[in-house]
């Protein structure tokens, strides 16, 4: 990608993100009371992350079983109540273990 193209993308991304934060912060002085839109916005982060994770995680490594192992172990550890960093670490270790096993066999 050329530098010029990169900076165009970067500008659009940063500008939109900044406006989303700054404009409501200075303009709106009252809370959204509409239950429907409040609920919609409350669900958005989770549905975005879910759609990005699946099937994204399957394409993140070069060996599908490694990705599946990472997904399963991360889900399991997260269900057990472990935090962000440990869950991420477990996912990485799962990939290494499966890739290692794959090379070994």
């Amino acid at each position: 990608m050329s530098l010029e193209v990169f900076f165009k993308y970067l500008f659009v991304m940063a500008f939109v993100t900044y406006l989303l934060r700054a404009l409501p912060f200075i303009l709106l002085k009252r809370q959204i009371e509409n239950v429907f839109w409040k609920s919609f916005l409350a669900y958005i982060p989770y549905t975005v992350l879910a759609a990005m994770t699946i099937p994204g995680i399957f394409k993140a490594t070069e060996f599908l079983p490694a990705s599946v192992a990472a997904l399963c172990l991360a889900t399991l550890f997260s269900l057990k109540g472990h935090g962000l960093v440990l869950v991420a670490l477990v996912a990485c270790l799962a990939v290494m273990a499966v890739n290692g096993l794959h090379l070994w066999i």
């Binding site: 990169f6 993100t17 700054a22 009252r30 409350a42 549905t47 990485c92 890739n99």
Partner: protein, 250 residues
């Protein structure tokens, strides 16, 4: 006599507001966020190093300070078909929640938080910084908020920088494994909410089902990554908001 005690109480509470809302207290409260951000952005740096050089990846983190948005942005950049309009719309929907946070934070800040300071410090509105600021029992002052966002910002940018450099240097065996770190963190954000809130479960499964369709179904898989994410998240969230409106302040 009554007046006197009231005055003492008032000055005491003013004093404690100043102490609680100092720059130093903000920095202290921001430390755990900063450490967490370092880890997340390290994996963003690794992911980015497959596409861009380290100064450019670091520049993305310096100007955006948003995990899901940057990650989606990176994907759109990597797709040659990803247009600027797509970038704008994807960024808009993925980061729309910040607007909601900005609105609710604007109820919580002290009167000294003027328009100019809001314009300067608005960048600090992220899920975690917002959550900590809202947990404060007293109005949030600009100097406290500046302290609060300092370490998260430094953690986010330095983590990206180091991750991107490592991505260029580390052997493939390691970067392949580190590539799933970000997804691991996404899972760790979504699962706890799914555990305590059934409708979130349903919303997440709808979103995943749609996402699979957009990736593997014949015609739908023609839709590019950015728009697919927008459609999945917006459709699933609309449906969930319609079927299971959230009544309490969540």
């Amino acid at each position: 006599m009554k007046d006197c005690t009231r005055n003492v109480k008032k000055s005491e509470s003013e004093f404690s507001i100043l102490a609680r809302m100092s720059f130093k207290k903000g920095v202290e409260d921001g430390l755990p966020i900063g450490i967490g951000y370092f880890a997340v952005s390290f994996s963003f740096g690794i992911a980015g190093s497959k596409l861009l050089t380290w100064p450019l990846i670091t520049l993305i983190s310096m100007t955006n300070l948003t995990s899901a948005g940057q990650f989606a942005g990176l994907h759109i950049m990597s797709e040659m078909t990803g247009t600027l309009l797509e970038m704008a719309i994807a960024t808009f929907f993925i980061n729309l929640r910040y607007s909601l946070m900005a609105i609710s934070l604007s109820q919580k800040v002290s009167p000294s938080f003027g328009t100019f300071k809001r314009l300067c410090l608005g960048t600090g509105i992220t899920d975690e910084i917002y959550a900590v600021a809202m947990s404060s029992k007293v109005p949030v002052t600009p100097i406290y908020f500046l302290g609060l966002m300092l370490l998260p910002y430094l953690g986010w940018t330095s983590g990206t920088l180091i991750g991107a450099v490592c991505g260029e240097v580390l052997p493939h065996f390691l970067t392949d494994a580190l590539g799933v770190a970000l997804y691991g963190m996404f899972i760790a954000i979504v699962i706890p909410q799914m555990k305590i809130h059934k409708p979130t479960c349903i919303a997440v499964f709808i979103s995943i089902a749609l996402s699979l369709l957009f990736n593997y179904a014949p015609v739908l898989s023609e839709v590019s990554f950015g728009f697919a994410i927008i459609l999945c998240a917006v459709l699933a969230s609309l449906l969930a908001a319609f079927l299971f409106p959230i009544k309490e302040n969540a």
